[in-house]
């Protein structure tokens, strides 16, 4: 830490000043810019003192991954190349992180699934890699459309999983993500997810931090496990590798390591609360009806609440920001007055509703829906309709059969 902190105030080779992250993200003057989500990823990485980015094309993250290539050409990123597949890319990211670099990558949909074997390995090896997931369909027949099913597969890998709603979230959370992931008591990979296309390919006004400020560089010697660079004594780890032993000591070793990974996810909670201003945002928690959502479903929920208000129906909102760590207490508290809890989702299984049902008392209050999937949009009208139908209120049909 001392080494990294002492660089604050000095300049990197691009003339950016290593800046105290809290000042940079919370106090420095911001400039409004009109950018696509992909451009926002580029702007965040420009300020992230990122050592290595490894890319692979897959819609809808290809543009962002290519834009970071431009940053490399400009000298803002230390190294950059296109790997041969997502499985290889995630292993290359691991190698770079084992070697003490701050590592960033982006992926989506089937690519996330192809790379899956790497994610528990990242967490187990305590590699603080940041991976952007611009969610898209993983089903067959082939789809490139928005769909958040892939997030559910990441939830039990031991990675931190955050779900951004807007491009602004995205910009801030990429930078904050490195800070939280690299804390010595966390030191875990982060999957920062957003809904593909809705966030990546739409333009929005985003408040950017000054381009001449950047995060202090990663200090690999703050890691709770040795950096693989032969700069510290290479201990012999064990005489009998546990991998081949079927005995209690072996099981206990693996069990305690798994528990430690999940304890680290838990320890990230306090850092995420500080940097993200809480793991959830909640509005009107005294309302009898609540919408609980993550990602762009939150935006649609917000619009549905406005429409319901026009009809005299009061509805509150919970925006879930982190899925791992899971904000169980926060959700319980925010929904304690609710009689009806609606969970709109962009996937077919309703994984978020299942998580919420497993978290709160009286889970019959949870309505798993509305669901859209396969790239369908979620007009606020269908959320309104779902709520009114469930409450026995009269609704108008949203689409006719034609005449």
């Amino acid at each position: 830490m001392a080494e990294t902190q002492s660089l604050i105030g000095t300049q990197n080779k691009k003339g950016q000043t290593y800046t105290d992250p809290w000042y940079m993200l919370n106090e420095a003057l911001r400039t409004p810019s009109f950018f696509t989500g992909s451009e926002v990823i580029k702007e965040a990485i420009r300020r992230a003192s990122c050592d290595i980015m490894i890319a692979y094309p897959i819609t809808p993250q290809s543009e962002a991954a290519a834009l970071i290539g431009e940053l490399f050409a400009e000298g803002y990123v230390g190294d950059y190349f296109r790997g041969e597949s997502e499985f290889a890319v995630m292993s290359q990211c691991a190698g770079a992180s084992f070697g003490g670099a701050r590592v960033f990558t982006t992926t989506a949909g089937p690519g996330t699934m192809r790379a899956m074997e790497n994610f528990p390995m990242w967490a187990g090896a305590r590699l603080p890699i940041q991976m952007i997931v611009t969610c898209r369909g993983i089903n067959s027949p082939l789809s490139i459309q928005p769909d958040t099913l892939e997030i559910s597969y990441l939830l039990n890998t031991g990675m931190m999983v955050w779900h951004a709603e807007t491009a602004q979230d995205f910009f801030d959370w990429i930078l904050k993500g490195f800070i939280v992931a690299e804390e010595p008591d966390v030191h875990l990979p982060l999957a920062l997810c957003c809904d593909g296309f809705f966030v990546t390919h739409t333009k929005d006004v985003v408040q950017l931090t000054p381009a001449d400020m950047c995060l202090p560089p990663y200090d690999p010697y703050r890691s709770p496990v040795p950096c693989m660079d032969m700069e510290c004594p290479p201990v012999r780890m064990m005489r009998d590798p546990f991998v081949m032993k079927s005995n209690y000591i072996s099981y206990a070793t693996h069990a305690s390591w798994q528990q430690e990974v999940w304890a680290a996810v838990e320890r990230s909670r306090k850092h995420a609360i500080r940097w993200l201003d809480g793991l959830i945002d909640a509005e009107n928690t005294d309302a009898e009806i609540m919408i609980v959502a993550s990602g762009t479903a939150v935006s649609q929920g917000r619009e549905a609440i406005r429409m319901l208000e026009d009809e005299g129906v009061r509805c509150g909102l919970v925006k879930i920001k982190t899925l791992r760590p899971w904000p169980a207490d926060e959700i319980r508290e925010a929904t304690k007055h609710a009689k009806h809890i609606f969970v709109p989702e962009f996937n077919v299984t309703g994984w978020l509703a299942k998580e919420i049902r497993a978290t709160i008392p009286d889970h019959h209050r949870v309505y798993a829906g509305p669901h859209v999937c396969g790239g369908m949009t979620m007009p606020p009208e269908i959320i309104v309709s779902e709520i009114k139908t469930a409450l026995g209120m009269k609704t108008f049909s949203l689409a006719g059969r034609g005449s």
Binding site: D79, G95, G99, A125, P234, R236, M237
Partner: protein
């Protein structure tokens, strides 16, 4: 790193394991002309292993670790298999992550080390079995060579999946009857040395580990060429005596029989032009160094 970095505080010396004390006292980190002859006289960077008695892979491991030109600045990358039973006892930083992704790990690792230690030597050496290198990991093996990643790939070729119990592998000979090849393997042994040459490796050797002096030479060459020029590849026959029905004492003879002219492990070498030039320069320097040392010794005597 040299032995400086592993030095023990005097106050803590007596409570350190004797194994570590020995590493500080008589290991060969930083020794300029380290090699296989240090085995038996200096503290080895690999000691106990949990391989089968008489396993040629254990010999290969010892020769390779003894021959690394600068273990104090070398990071090794392994894969799943018998090698992953040995790596935990190697006193050189080493990474096991998944099965078959070793060349992808090494690609990222080498780039990170180059970025973090500009102007310093940091060697990366991959050591994995034939299943990891040629079957499940072939894509990443080849792609790292296409990209001209500057590290050495060593394949322990035992012509089968030893650790899982002797199943067919791509480097198995045609016709060999094994698990998952119940009527004999149906296709030829994959010609990876030739593929390595065509894929851009600058130094490729196929041989057995019957001669430690040869292993020292090819390991050093492979590391030097990878450091300066580009990817290098060694394919070493380390027969799985258990799975081919041999006894503990028969590993060495098996290797000697297989390296005869026209046998499948006859010595084979490809060296690119830039690598030839580099190795010639290094040989000339070594000759000079030896001559100077001889002269110095002569003066001392006189």
């Amino acid at each position: 790193m040299s032995k400086e970095r592993i030095k023990i505080s005097e106050a803590l010396y007596d409570i350190m394991p004797s194994d570590y004390q020995d590493l500080v006292k008589s290991a060969t980190y930083g020794k300029e002309d380290r090699g296989w002859k240090d085995i038996g006289t200096a503290k080895e960077l690999i000691e106990q292993h949990s391989l089968c008695a008489g396993c040629p892979e254990s010999m290969a491991f010892r020769y390779i670790i003894a021959s690394l030109p600068n273990p104090e600045d070398t990071v090794m990358v392994g894969s799943t298999g018998c090698t992953s039973l040995v790596f935990p006892m190697v006193a050189v930083h080493n990474i096991h992550s998944l099965f078959g992704n070793q060349n992808a790990i090494a690609s990222g690792l080498k780039r990170a080390l180059s970025l973090r230690f500009p102007g310093r030597i940091k060697d990366v050496v991959v050591l994995a079995g034939d299943g990891a290198t040629v079957d499940i990991g072939l894509d990443m093996t080849l792609q790292s060579w296409f990209r001209q990643e500057k590290f050495t790939t060593i394949c322990f070729d035992n012509e089968l999946y030893a650790n899982t119990g002797g199943q067919e592998s791509g480097l198995m000979r045609k016709g060999f009857v094994a698990k998952m090849a119940p009527v004999g393997k149906q296709f030829e042994k994959v010609r990876l040395p030739e593929i390595a040459r065509e894929s851009g490796c600058h130094y490729v050797v196929q041989c057995t580990v019957s001669k430690p002096s040869l292993i020292e030479k090819v390991v050093k060459n492979a590391v030097y060429v990878a450091r300066e020029i580009g990817p290098t590849y060694l394919q070493l026959y380390t027969p799985c005596i258990l799975e081919i029905g041999k006894n503990s004492m028969e590993g060495l003879q098996e290797m000697r029989d297989s390296e005869k002219p026209n046998e499948r492990f006859a010595y084979k070498e490809f060296v690119s032009e830039p690598a030839k030039q580099l190795l010639a320069e290094l040989a000339a320097k070594e000759k000079e160094r030896k001559a100077a040392a001889k002269q110095l010794a002569g003066q001392a005597q006189a």
